[in-house]
């Protein structure tokens, strides 16, 4: 039985123009220790899916099981990394992490909590910045603190909501490597579900890529295995044939969905159907955006 099992989950929100169906009949299975990347355009309902997995919001229909139990609330052994860091600005990096440690291990003494927090910060390369407040840290460093905060609770499952989405390209690349190292280390690997809009990031980090097909309502495409040896590096993957195949597969799945949707919309607008011209869509963006952006 998979560690995370999502069956037939749908979610809609009330909006000004009636109900907005965000996700429909979504099913997903994640094995213990697996790293799954959910890839899709901005505003396709990825975050909604993740916050349901984390227990922050409840699905309208369908079930979510984690570790064999139905998910009812936020799990004690789950950690979450937000896209916008969500650090508390009045606490130092150390205290931000210690807050999480204190909540996860209340039986530890304050000193032990502090030591654990400091060690985790050293692990993400912030040993020198533990006394600084978030304001005094760069975007990349802030996200390292946020990752440390998640890792310090020794979670069994991690949910990463576009963890590197707010960073500039260079910082993003170096943190991707870091994340690959952190998630791959240790004997019992942490089961991880990450959301991203970058296909390359997904290939670098994950065991399995699940494309999210834009709606609304969005649905999940069939999962694509990333059977590449670890450790991986961005430079090596750029020239790897197997990686290229995965990339083509993912992008094809995503663009087909987008083109398919565009045709329907086009037909509705222009009346008589015209012959679809797929050959023209040769420029394939790596980071996809769709008309559904405003729903993010």
């Amino acid at each position: 039985m998979p560690f995370i099992e999502v069956t037939g989950v749908s979610k809609s929100f009330p909006s000004k123009r009636g109900t907005r169906h965000v996700l429909q009949n979504v099913s997903l299975a994640v094995e213990q220790g697996e790293f799954v990347a959910i890839v899709g355009a901005m505003g396709s309902g990825k975050s909604t899916l993740l916050s349901m997995l984390a227990g922050l919001t409840a699905p309208d229909t369908g079930t979510i099981h984690i570790g064999g139990e139905p998910l009812r609330e936020i799990r004690r052994d789950a950690a979450f990394v937000f896209q916008n860091y969500s650090l508390l600005p009045w606490l130092t990096a150390l205290d931000n992490v210690r807050l999480a440690v204190g909540a996860a291990f209340p039986e530890l003494s304050r000193d032990e909590q502090r030591t654990r927090a400091r060690r985790t910060l050293e692990k993400v390369g912030l040993g020198n910045a533990i006394a600084r407040r978030p304001r005094q840290l760069s975007g990349g460093m802030r996200q390292r603190v946020a990752i440390a905060r998640a890792l310090a609770t020794e979670p069994r499952v991690m949910f990463l909501d576009e963890p590197l989405g707010a960073l500039d390209a260079l910082t993003r690349e170096s943190l991707q490597g870091e994340l690959a190292r952190l998630c791959g280390e240790g004997d019992g690997r942490v089961t991880t579900v990450m959301i991203t809009n970058s296909v390359d990031e997904a290939i670098l980090l994950s065991d399995k890529i699940v494309p999210i097909l834009p709606g609304p309502p969005a649905t999940l495409g069939s999962p694509i295995e990333v059977a590449l040896p670890r450790p991986r590096s961005a430079a090596q993957l750029a020239h790897d044939d197997a990686a290229a195949q995965v990339r083509t597969h993912v992008i094809a799945t995503l663009t087909e969905a987008v083109v398919g949707r565009a045709q329907i919309v086009g037909r509705a607008l222009s009346g008589p159907p015209s012959a679809p011209d797929r050959a023209r869509s040769t420029i394939v963006p790596r980071e996809l955006r769709t008309a559904a952006e405003e729903t993010s």
Binding site: A54, L56, I74, R76, A78, A79, F80, F82, N84, S86, L88, W90, L91, L99, A100, G102, A103, A104, R149, T153
Partner: protein, 254 residues
């Protein structure tokens, strides 16, 4: 250098002009003492600011000290009630809906209206004065704290949920620090009101302090001392506001 000279001389020009208007008015109204006469008759209160010659006949600093002490006690009582109330109203929209109308009705009531009620309730002038100060000055703190709690970004609530923080930890580590700047704005406004109320309550109860002194000197027809009291009230009020403003800026910078 020139800029600093201008910065310094412009307020001085303003004060000079105000003195001129005062002098002109004193020419027109015979009972109003001129600036020079005011200084002449009030000199003793200023040169010996800590002297104590009688119940009301005391140096101006001593009188201001009595008033400040009274204000501090009333203000602290007020915010001690207002801060928790603000937190409760900020967290619970049910409570807000319940108490908002009452608050809106109580808020505009003048200290002069509360004071007799305080005298009825407590029989003595001192607790009545504290009651009036507290009940008049608490509203800005209630409202600002409430708004501050409501303004906490959803991100922070999510952090509290995801980290599974206890209610107490959420309160001390997230709600209080996030609301602190709003609370302090409330305190500043509350202190301003408390200082306004003190004078009114001292005038009515006849207790020693700047306001009591003002009222007594009016009854003894020593009009110069009224002006002295008025200026003192203004200067002390200004200083209080500045001090709170400084505390507020430090807090925002931290």
């Amino acid at each position: 250098m020139l800029k600093r000279l201008v910065n310094l001389s412009l307020p001085l020009c303003g004060i000079g002009l105000a003195l001129l208007v005062w002098w002109g008015a004193s020419k027109a109204v015979p009972d109003l003492p001129s600036p020079a006469r005011t200084w002449e008759e009030s000199k003793i209160y200023i040169v010996e600011p800590l002297a104590k010659r009688g119940e009301m006949d005391q140096g101006i600093a001593r009188l201001a000290y009595y008033s400040l002490l009274r204000v501090a006690r009333g203000f602290l009582l007020g915010i001690a009630i207002a801060t928790p109330l603000g937190f409760l109203l900020g967290v619970s929209s049910t409570l807000t809906r319940m108490f908002d109308p009452i608050m809106q009705i109580l808020r505009p009531i003048s200290p002069l209206a509360w004071l007799p009620l305080g005298l009825v309730l407590f029989q003595k002038s001192e607790p009545a004065a504290l009651f009036a100060i507290a009940v008049c000055s608490m509203w800005p703190t209630v409202i600002n704290t409430m708004v501050g709690v409501r303004a906490i970004p959803q991100d922070y609530w999510n952090v509290a949920r995801v980290l599974r923080l206890s209610k107490l930890t959420t309160f001390t580590r997230i709600i209080i620090p996030a609301t602190l700047p709003y609370m302090f704005t409330g305190y500043r406004l509350s202190l301003g009101i408390a200082w306004l109320v003190i004078v009114a309550s001292e005038m009515l109860t006849g207790t020693p302090g700047v306001g009591g002194f003002l009222w007594q000197e009016y009854n003894s027809l020593v009009y110069a001392h009224i002006l002295l009291a008025i200026l003192t009230i203004g200067i002390v009020g200004f200083a209080l506001d500045r001090l709170m403003g400084m505390a507020e800026t430090r807090l925002r910078a931290a």
